[in-house]
């Protein structure tokens, strides 16, 4: 005996009204600052969101007078997904990290990107990018 759904099988997630919800912050020549959430994405009601990829990068573009740790990270539902600390005062030193498919966010959950730089003087470039796809739950 075959068992099926009268109205047909449920569509795959990528066919359920998918929408790109990319989030990005690219700051150049950023001076030292305390921990700051550069972007927030909240999953709307009735949706879920696939985290397709995430990328973070820092570049020291001006040396600091006194070096302090500089951090960059992406947080899913307020937990670390990807994070790096940059503790190198060499001009153009770079720290980067990336991850691929990282799971699904439920309605009301968030994806946030944050930066900080505890140095005195100097400047950094920060890039935080997440590729998100939102679809009907």
């Amino acid at each position: 005996m075959r068992v099926g759904f009268p109205a047909g099988p449920r569509l795959e997630w990528y066919d359920r009204n998918p929408q790109a919800a990319r989030q990005q912050y690219s700051g150049t020549n950023v001076t030292p600052h305390a921990f700051t959430i550069r972007f927030t994405y909240t999953v709307p009601t009735g949706k879920k969101t696939f985290v397709m990829a995430a990328f973070v990068r820092t570049i020291r573009v001006q040396v600091a007078t006194t070096l302090g740790p500089s951090t960059i990270g992406i947080y899913l539902a307020d937990k670390f997904l990807i994070a790096r600390a940059h503790c190198d005062n060499t001009l153009y030193s770079t720290v980067a990290a990336e991850v691929g498919h990282s799971g699904i966010l439920l309605a009301g959950e968030t994806c946030k990107g944050g930066t900080s730089d505890a140095s005195t003087g100097g400047q950094m470039d920060f890039d935080i990018i997440t590729h998100l796809v939102e679809f009907n739950a």
Partner: protein, 83 residues
Amino acid sequence: MVKVKVKVVGSGTEADPFRVRLPTYSMVPGTEEYADAEKKIFKSVEVEVPDDECDKGRPDKAKIRAKYRGQPLWDRADVLSDI
């Protein structure tokens, strides 16, 4: 996306980071204004907000409450009262 200037809240710590009281936003680099420039305490910043959360160039309470219906943080009468 709609660009708007909004208030920054928080104290810059891990537990209470500088942030904006909107469900979805992205800060526009270089638009930060400081309450205390020496201590780097943010006062305001320009952010980009999705079109479907705005009306007449500003974040709209009714649209945000509808989009995030049932979510305690955003589906409330005083949402956007302090941005």
